[in-house]
Amino acid sequence: MSLPPRVPSVVLAVGFAVVAGAVLVAASGGDPLAAYWQIAVGALAPDNLPNTLNWAVPLTGMALAVAIPLRGGMVNLGGDGQLVLGGLVAALVPLYLPLPGVLSMFAAILAAALVAGLYAALAAWGEVRHGVPMLISSLLLSYPAMGLASYLSGFPLRDRSSGLPQTVMIPPDARLPPLGDVLNVGAFAILVIAIAVVVFDRRSVVGYELRLRGLNPRFARYGGIALGRQAVATMFASGGIAGLTGATIVLGAQFRFTDGALVTPNYTWSGLMAALLAGGEPVGTIGAALFFAALQTGGFAMQRETAVPRVLTMVLQALVILFLAARHGLRRRAAP
């Protein structure tokens, strides 16, 4: 799982997925060529590029959040819960912690990353101390987090003037400043995180130790790495990035926490697939996230122009992962 797949494998897997997706579209009465053409235009035409980038920002954030533990052979399936917690905290801090504008914004981002990071670390702690597999606990922990956020935004903290389960709008001076028409400063935050993850992965002892764990945990322990502490710290970083991603969406685009708004675009699962596609290698993960963001953004144009539902792009992403997993296995068999 931790070996980054070779580029030709990825290209081949994407090719297979495109063909399988075309068969699905044709079988359901659509025109696959027109559908794919609309995806390409919708994602890459100059007018649409900012939208693609805007979609890529949270998707890259969530992809990096998953990529970090994946590099060490760990899977964080609880991104949805961490994203939602981060978004909720970021929406509440400017409302209930009276600080001057920009300060309140920074406090909101920090608090979001901290809360989501601790929540993710809880899954690692459960594995280290109580032997509960993180793969499962991280996912199961998502449901209480989402339920709690849903309850808080629907009842005690609901904006009474709106009919929707959402919190009160945050004050304008606590929002992330816009960057052009669609983007906001949150894009910078994710860019900084992306660079930091790449540098940590390639140039730091921590990154080296994490890769070592991914390749061979027993050897890593033999080399003196405290696996338990490493797992908790890694998951804290992972959840922190997921929480920060949620904060950038809330502070930069939605300006309040709305129940379901962070989960519906599927950033978590697209991000997970992007990270899996690159085996957790950060540069590859970012590339895959950009590719999937283009696919998702183009999906809107496809749905509008050809009436093929845009959820097809989720099917395509899953197919890429499945074909890659099979190819990856074949390679392992060829070279034992």
């Binding site: 499962i136 199961l140 449901y143 339920g147 009842f155 699962w269 097809l312 989720m314 499945l322 068999r333």
Partner: protein, 295 residues
């Protein structure tokens, strides 16, 4: 309020069935040495195919058949991907779950022209089986009467799988695959073929679990209606250590947690809070079982 009200018992038994069927699928795969986390996706596809089959053919039997087939079809990816192609079972499982979520949402729009929930009077649900003669024993009557055929099937299967696994040569071979695949191969057992078979049989059961969700208590399909139940089944398999009886006991616990949540909802608690009951109980059970094992 009595904790064991007839309503609670009835809805608990109803809630146990899908988790139990999926857990039995997990037991078969676990015994054969395949870690199956694709139960969630197989269940979801089964739920969709159940509704689609029932709606198109106008019969619940067609729904059951379609659900079982669809579960097996999706399981085929794991069956071959993790054995013949030697892919990573966890990555494949994640891929299958996401494929199921996307594919059912896609087909929901393309086949029925709706998103979210598909509800139609033409969907024939599973008829509840009334049991007469239990009127004197209220709790038992609540538990047993007016349950779907799949509930009866699931409990019969618990016994069947337990006997099959531990009392027959067939079960001995299957267990051998999980414990010592090399030894099993030496004795002439075709490891890959058996594993493919176990995963496919698991797909049928997980598909039926989905049918119980969409045609058992209600007759609708909604997107992502499996809502983590496949994962709870994975936990039940772990708690039961691949033993069908242990897994069934865990499923009973989760089913009652689920029904208890419903009950609290009846007391005025918002469903956002009560819905999390099964997940919290599941996590607590995982921690407690490990504590006991260490002690």
């Amino acid at each position: 309020m009595s904790v064991l009200s007839p309503f609670l018992v009835h809805s608990a038994v109803q809630a146990i069935t899908p988790i139990l069927l999926a857990a039995l699928a997990g037991v078969l795969c676990g015994q054969a040495g395949v870690f199956n986390i694709a139960l969630e996706g197989e269940m979801l596809v089964g739920a969709f195919a159940g509704v689609a089959g029932s709606y198109l053919a106008g019969s619940a039997v067609a729904g059951v058949a379609a659900g079982a087939l669809a579960g097996a079809a999706l399981a085929l990816i794991l069956a071959y991907g993790s054995t013949v192609l030697r892919g990573d079972a966890i990555v494949i499982g994640i891929g299958i779950n996401l494929l199921a979520s996307g594919l059912t949402a896609y087909l929901l729009r393309q086949m029925f022209g709706v998103s979210g929930t598909f509800d139609s009077p033409a969907i024939v649900g599973l008829a509840p089986i009334a049991i007469g003669g239990l009127a004197g024993v209220p709790l038992l009557a609540a538990a047993l009467s007016r349950q779907s055929v799949l509930t009866w099937f699931a409990w019969a299967l618990v016994v069947l799988v337990a006997v099959g696994l531990f009392r027959t040569p067939f079960g001995l071979r299957l267990r051998g695959l999980g414990e010592q695949p090399d030894a099993a191969a030496t004795l002439g057992v075709d490891v890959q073929a058996w594993r493919v078979g176990a995963v496919l049989a698991g797909g049928v059961l997980a598909g039926l679990a989905g049918v119980q969700l969409s045609l058992g208590a209600v007759s609708v399909f909604s997107e992502d209606m499996s809502a983590g139940r496949g994962w709870i089944a994975v936990v039940a398999v772990m708690l039961g250590r691949n033993n069908p009886l242990g897994a069934a006991a865990a499923c009973v616990l989760f089913g009652f947690a689920d029904a208890f949540g419903l009950r609290l909802q009846g007391q005025g608690l918002p469903n956002q809070l009560t819905d999390i009951a099964p997940y919290v109980v599941t996590l607590a059970a995982l921690i407690l079982s490990h504590r006991r094992r260490q002690a």
